[in-house]
Amino acid sequence: MSENIIVKVEDLTMAYHDKPVLWDNDVNIVENSRTAIIGPNGAGKSTLLKGILGLQKTLSGTVEIMGKSVKQVYKKIAYIPQSNSVNWDFPTTALDVVLMGRYVHLGWIKRPKKKDIEIARNALHKMGMQDYAKRQISQLSGGQKQRVFIARAIAQNAEIYFMDEPLAGVDKNTEKVIIDFLKDSQKQGKTSIVIHHDLNTLADYFDHLVILNKRIIAQGKMSETLTQANLDAADMGGGFTIAAM
């Protein structure tokens, strides 16, 4: 099977207040893959996703998604930000949040219709959250909140998922629901790019890997990329040995 590149990043450099965070990075994401991005804290993983999605200024570099610019394909991209970027005090329900996944298809000013509400309900159901539709978002547990945000991505009906640490602070059960969802999406031809922090589950959950520490250390198929030498090169080797592989 030949590998199509669905996200192509070249020479990406990004900085905060003139403090460079990412230098000159080339990233290739394979179509229909489940790709994990790993790296130590502060490696620039979140910044990389924001740069790819055009959410933050880049100093240089180009990004192509499905051969086009992000502006042309953003409807086909579902982004699940790190949960700390959300305003939890906001008065809204789980169903309402999922419904936001439909906004991108509605366009300005127009309100969600019956069909959108039905899509949102189905998405909640897929995440096993149908009984919590009317619940205030801040009253849900960490895992339940994350399921709601995945449901929002489902409602958006995207081709590519970008997720920033979706498994951080969630229960085991939710972790399984999310990974099953990723595998299921892959069967439907979709691509997911997920920032991950647990080296123990890495090879089980994903089939491609990007190792980042301000620069790209290595990228490619999981089996070829997850090596002790690469982890050491990213300052992630400490205490972890790849034995079971």
């Binding site: 930000p81 305003n87 936001m100």
Partner: protein, 323 residues
């Protein structure tokens, strides 16, 4: 003939009814009261709704800074135009409020200072300048010749000085503002709840900020004469805080904020009309804050409900321990 008669009976009964609940029909039906009351109620409705958004965005103090900072603009506009014309004073207020806002944004972007500290400094600098200028022109050989009694009303607001043109200005601001809030309801919702996701689906957060600041600025500028520079920010903040205690739905919160705002405006304006010399702004704020305070105790998210929940939980716990 008959209709006049009916009218008389109706208004008499109506007047009696109002008197019975302690309201003065004479005041309620006076042209001045109706004009002022309409003005404050419409203003409070818009301020309550747009203020809820700023409160949720964690930016309530910016309204306070803009409110105070518009005061020197009023004095300078008076010095230039040598008149108390509402429109030119309002333009002065908008210019100096905008200037303060731009300076705040600039410092916040380019320095590591805490935003609260920046707001406090700009607020005092601008408001202080306004007070200095005002005392400078008092008894000044040139400016002193022009009557300037109205200028101090811009500090606390004075209903008695409101003219029809002031209410027209409020309407001119309120109608487009409400329209924007209504049309872009969904956009504001996602912008406040999850700005990063909003950006990822192509919603410009810059545009949303600009809309928000534009509405906030116009509410402040038109409300100064009614409510005053010091208290106008409470119009933006207090109804939202009250409403958030009562509902978990954004649309309901906005409506409750509008109701809290306009109800307080009605009661406050009435009180300041009954007692001559009482400033309108403080009267409305007292009613508004009273409602906020009561809500903190008796609302579904208030202290009382929390206390009951905790007691029930402890009861259940001790029961299950005994069993």
């Amino acid at each position: 003939m008959l209709s006049v008669y009916l009218n008389k009976i109706f208004s008499l009964n109506f007047a009696n009814l109002l008197n019975a609940i302690g309201l003065d029909f004479e005041i309620l039906s006076s042209y001045t009261f109706i004009v002022v009351c309409l003005g404050t109620m419409i203003l409070a409705t818009v301020a309550g709704m747009v203020g809820t958004i700023t409160v949720l965005k964690g930016q309530s103090l910016i309204g306070d800074a803009i409110g105070h900072s518009s005061y020197p603009g009023i004095i300078i506009a008076f010095m230039i135009g040598m008149s108390l014309d509402s429109v030119s004073l309002m333009i002065g207020a908008i210019i100096s409020g905008t200037l303060a806002f731009i300076i705040i944004q600039f410092i916040d972007k380019n320095s590591k200072l805490n935003l609260d500290a920046v707001l406090a400094v700009i607020l005092s600098a601008f408001f202080g300048l306004g007070m200095v200028l005002k005392s400078f022109i008092q008894g000044h050989p040139i400016y002193g010749k022009v009557p300037q009694g109205g200028l101090s009303n811009y500090i606390f607001g004075q209903a008695a000085f409101i003219r029809t043109i002031d209410v027209q200005l409020i309407l001119a601001v309120a109608i487009p503002s409400l329209l924007i809030l209504f049309l872009f309801y969904k956009e504001f919702k996602i912008f406040v709840f999850d700005e990063v996701y909003a950006k990822s689906i192509g919603l410009s957060s810059t545009l949303m900020y600009v809309l928000l600041v534009l509405i906030t600025m116009s509410v402040i500028a038109t409300g100064l004469k009614l409510v005053g520079a010091i208290l106008i920010s409470s119009f933006l903040i207090v109804p939202g805080i009250t409403a958030l205690q009562w509902s978990n739905r954004f649309s309901h919160v906005l409506i409750i904020a509008a109701i809290v705002g306009s109800f307080s405006a009605f009661v406050g304006t009435y009180i300041s009309s009954v007692y001559a010399g009482m400033s309108t702004g403080p009267c409305i704020i007292v009613v508004m804050s009273g409602l906020a305070f009561i809500s903190m105790f008796i609302s579904p998210k208030g202290l009382l409900a929390n206390w009951l929940r905790r007691r029930k939980y402890l009861n259940d716990l001790s029961k299950s321990l005994i069993d």
